[in-house]
């Protein structure tokens, strides 16, 4: 049996700033307002990265710090109060989320201290999350917001009623922001096993946050939620179900099985269900079987996606990942190992905090059939004859559950399908020499 090995590089890699989480969280949590307290740099990123959405009167804005704020000539509390009152007047949200940034960290603006005072004054709950680029990458932004929300969930009064086997299933809370239809799908999947989900974090609205407390089981749906998991365990005494993530038919099945076993339920009919969905995606699997793939790493979904694609028959050369919490991803890593051994493929190298420059050297050497990468590298790699898929699409597509598998493969096979249609036009990507000469 081969085992996983981990490497760590320089951390010079490209990813989105974690404040980008506001773009999906404000849509997920109805009537919330996200205030990013930062500089023009943050604002420029948000408006460009999330370009189109900016025009639909988004429920997020920048509190742009000016020189006076930095040099503490202006009082942070008064300034924030002014802006929050303005937001209250215009939008009247049911919750305000302050996103702390690198700047508020460096000037040590005490957002956590100010929020409760201001909350009492203006009578709107204020949640503070430090989603900054000093500490976190991209999707980890959601992790910081959810971890902060954990503290706001109401407490359950623990009763002894849970001892009867019928009710135990009612104490399951799932965490991770997924689109409404995906949440419904996962709820239904668990219902088939006789488990009814008590609530989701985040909920559709702030007022519906689930009850938490001792005896409540929690399970994550995304691999980047390790802080949230830790907070749930430590601060709210919840029981964490460590499971692979419901990505791909294999992951979804394993996820359900882990939940069932934690709740003392015998899972039923999952083998057939998994098989059914493998059949369902066989047309796509045929295209990629035996093909190689390289994850440069920028959104922390990499291990789960790699595991699923190996199960599909692909060979993964490298799993780059910004940060790997080996405890939170324990079950996922185990499933990865098992999948590799079962498929008889080498175990990919897992590179934490990768160095993009080195990775590009490796990509040139290995010539993978597909590279999953950010947009900064996609066009240059394509110009050098490499197929790429833009990694951020995996964060926004509906990839969870049995039904999500097809969406993942739709993305993964797209470059190949595109190439097939371009092949005859002579516009297919040539060798590196070719294109460089043409430049």
């Amino acid at each position: 049996m081969k085992e996983l090995e981990f490497e760590c590089e320089t951390g010079n890699y490209h990813t989105f700033c974690p404040i980008s989480c506001v773009s999906w969280l404000y849509q997920k949590i109805e009537n919330s307002f996200f205030l990013v307290i930062g500089t023009k740099t943050c604002g420029y990123f948000l408006q460009n990265a999330l370009g189109v959405m900016i025009f639909a009167e988004p429920r997020y804005a920048m509190a742009e710090l000016e020189e006076g704020d930095i040099s503490a000539q202006l009082n942070g509390y008064d300034e924030l109060k002014k802006l929050c009152l303005e937001i209250k007047k215009d939008r009247n949200p049911s919750v305000m989320v302050w996103i702390g940034t690198c700047t508020t960290e460096i000037i040590k603006m005490d957002l956590e201290g100010m929020a409760p005072r201001l909350e009492a004054e203006i009578n709107i709950p204020i949640v503070v999350a430090r989603a900054n680029g000093l500490d976190y990458a991209f999707t980890q932004g959601e992790d910081t917001v959810l971890a902060a929300m954990v503290q706001r969930c109401p407490s359950t009064s623990i009763s002894s009623s849970n001892s009867s086997s019928n009710c135990i299933s009612n104490d399951l809370v799932l965490f991770g922001s997924v689109p409404g239809p995906v949440a419904t799908q996962l709820d239904l999947e668990l219902k088939k096993q006789g488990i009814s989900v008590k609530g989701w974090l985040p909920s559709q609205s702030y007022s519906e946050l689930p009850d938490l407390g001792e005896g409540v089981y929690v399970c994550g749906v995304n691999p980047f939620l390790s802080r949230t998991a830790a907070t749930l365990m430590r601060k709210r005494k919840c029981e964490l179900i460590n499971a692979p993530f419901p990505i791909g038919p294999d992951g979804t099945r394993a996820w359900i099985e882990c939940i069932c076993s934690a709740l003392g339920i015998e899972a039923k009919g999952l083998k057939e269900r998994e098989e059914k969905f493998w059949n369902n995606i066989e047309d796509y699997c045929k295209l990629i079987r035996g093909k190689s793939i390289f994850f440069m790493g920028d959104n922390l979904l990499e291990v789960s996606l790699a595991r699923f694609l190996i199960a599909c028959g692909m060979i993964v050369y490298e799993i780059g990942i910004p940060y790997l919490d080996r405890r939170f991803q324990f079950s996922e890593l185990k499933l990865l190992e098992e999948t590799c051994n079962k498929k008889g493929v080498p175990i990919p190298r897992i590179v934490e905090k990768p160095d993009n420059y080195n990775q590009i050297q490796r990509i040139r050497e290995l010539q993978p059939d597909l590279t999953i990468t950010g947009m900064a590298h996609a066009n240059p790699l394509e110009a050098r004859g490499m197929n790429t898929k833009w990694s951020v699409e995996f964060t926004f597509a509906q990839i969870h559950g049995f039904l999500g598998a097809r969406n993942i493969l739709e993305l993964v096979t797209r470059p190949q399908r595109r190439n097939a249609s371009l092949a005859s036009s002579g516009a297919s990507s040539g060798s590196e020499d070719n294109l460089v000469l043409n430049l």
């Binding site: 010079n12 420029y44 990123f45 988004p58 742009e64 000016e66 680029g133 900064a376």
Partner: protein, 507 residues
């Protein structure tokens, strides 16, 4: 602190990075936290760039905060020098480094002693400059640095070229149609027998900067960036420069006249060239006289953008097409005085702001027939159902067309004429719409009601109705019926139709 949803000009480091990545073989190292290298995405996506953007970050993280960045920055510079052997490494500060107040200049100096490439610290303060100002400054800094070095080494080219030649300053990556403008300008210069000595910085080489003084004069195409460098070259090397932007027929003429003076030529006559180009190459002058353009006379327009494009556009609309510019505005607050002076005689009012809600309010109030602005104004226009032609950054991928679309020079005037004409509703169509009282919009299905309500219509009126072009017929019919209903008229006659039309006109 201020509440902001959107901004016209980016932060300072974007400007610096645009300068660095415009040059060949210059690598920028940003002193920034993870995620601040979004510039690479923009360049790769908007420009569809085939090469890796030569920008990396020396990441500021928790450890760096504790220890200071010195070791890491120096190490990153040495590493990049080995990996890519650039001619120049530009250490770029961000908002984060502005607060940390570490001595980045010192780090750059230290690293410079250990590497083959030149190392320069871009001297821009995040809180005092925007993208455009930083671009202007960084370009000047690099040029000054290179020339002073060349002077010291005795490699400076001091002799002027034999044939008249110019430097083109201020072509940048991610610039609004810069590539096309540059090609058009080169074509014009070739026609006039003038050589292009250097184009800086786009595609330029740091090592060739020592040849800048060989040119007879400098051309700065856009006010936003390049003037500082031109002024430096004038002061230290006695090089004249031209700053009129050759956008529109008149401005192109002024530009060429200034260029003729600056070059001090006796041999070639620019006047003949201007004359020929204006009359035969550019269609814009003829277009302005053509009968179609008459329909644009006195139409209201609003112009907003960077100082260069907005000011030039105001002149084109007002003086070359007879359009009434109700409001002219720019977000280049730092250049407000120049802008005011340029447009004051050609528009009703002037708006200097970088707050897009103010622009939106102004457009709502004025209700122009067309807007010429940035992508933001295009969206405002969409919301208000007013057409918009995009004439200035900020831009998105649509503004990086694959085809040849200059805004400058004589071909530029053609492109602009097309843009203006297509933005306004087409003349004849507009005319018909006016006659028959409005646009036949969305609710096409209502047209079927024409048959149903025919009982109200007299035969003559029905016949009259069929004479109206199909695309406005439904609208006219509905307006007339509405009028009849309001005025309690049982039968619609031809007279009623016209009364309805008259009524509509008085509203």
């Amino acid at each position: 602190m201020k509440l902001a949803y959107w901004m016209y000009a980016g932060p300072a480091h974007i400007g610096t990075l645009r300068v660095a990545s415009s040059f060949k073989n210059v690598h920028a190292i940003m002193h920034a936290p993870l995620g601040d290298d979004y510039f690479n995405v923009m360049r790769s996506m908007l420009e569809r760039e085939r090469d890796f953007t030569p920008v990396t970050a020396s990441i500021v993280d928790r450890h760096v905060l504790g220890r200071g960045s010195e070791e890491k920055v120096v190490q990153n510079i040495i590493c990049k020098d080995k990996q890519e052997a650039p001619n120049l490494i530009l250490l770029t500060p961000t908002c984060t480094s502005s607060i940390l107040q570490e001595d980045l200049q010192n780090f750059a100096d230290q690293a410079a002693m250990k590497v083959n490439s030149e190392v320069l610290f871009a001297d821009v303060n995040h809180y005092r400059m925007n993208e455009l100002q930083a671009m202007d400054r960084t370009l000047e800094q690099i040029i000054r640095f290179s020339l002073e070095k060349a002077k010291k080494n005795g490699t400076l080219a001091v002799k002027k070229t034999e044939k008249p030649s110019v430097n083109i300053l201020g072509m940048f990556t991610l610039g609004f149609h810069h590539q096309h403008d540059c090609r058009e300008l080169k074509r014009m210069l070739t026609d006039l027998g003038i050589d292009v000595n250097l184009v800086i910085p786009q595609g330029g080489d740091i090592l060739s900067l020592k040849d800048l003084p060989k040119a007879w004069c400098n051309i700065v195409l856009y006010r936003e960036a390049g003037i500082m460098a031109a002024k430096y070259l004038q002061k230290d090397f006695d090089m004249p420069f031209v700053t009129t932007t050759p956008m529109g027929i008149q401005n192109t003429k002024i530009f060429l006249n200034e260029l003729e003076t600056a070059l001090d030529l006796n041999t070639i006559s620019f006047q003949e060239y201007i004359n020929r180009q204006t009359r035969f190459i550019s269609q814009a002058a003829w277009f302005a006289r053509s009968i179609d353009c008459q329909n644009l006379t006195g139409k209201k327009a609003v112009v907003f953008g960077d100082a260069t494009h907005a000011a030039s556009m105001v002149r084109i609309l007002a003086c070359e097409m007879g359009i009434r510019v109700s409001c002219a505005g720019t977000y280049c607050k730092h250049d407000a005085d120049w802008f005011r002076e340029q447009v004051i005689d050609f528009c009703d009012e002037i708006l200097i702001t970088d707050d897009h809600t103010q622009v939106s309010n102004m457009i709502t109030r004025i209700e122009p027939a067309a807007i010429f602005g940035t992508q933001m104004e295009r969206h405002i226009g969409k919301r208000l159902d007013i057409p918009c032609g995009v004439i200035s950054a900020p831009v998105h991928i649509q503004n990086f067309p694959l085809g040849f679309r200059p805004f400058l020079g004589y071909e530029g005037t053609n492109q602009i004429a097309d843009l203006v004409y297509n933005t306004f509703t087409l003349g004849m169509e507009d005319h018909l719409l006016e006659i028959f009282g409005g646009h036949d919009t969305k609710d096409r299905n209502l047209d079927s009601s024409i048959e149903n309500s025919n009982s109200m219509w007299s035969n003559a009126a029905s016949t009259e109705l069929t004479k109206i072009p199909g695309f406005v017929r439904g609208k006219v019919k509905r307006n007339t019926e509405k009028y009849a209903k309001v005025n309690n008229i049982q039968e619609i006659t031809v007279e009623v139709m016209f009364a309805a039309k008259e009524d509509a006109e008085h509203v």
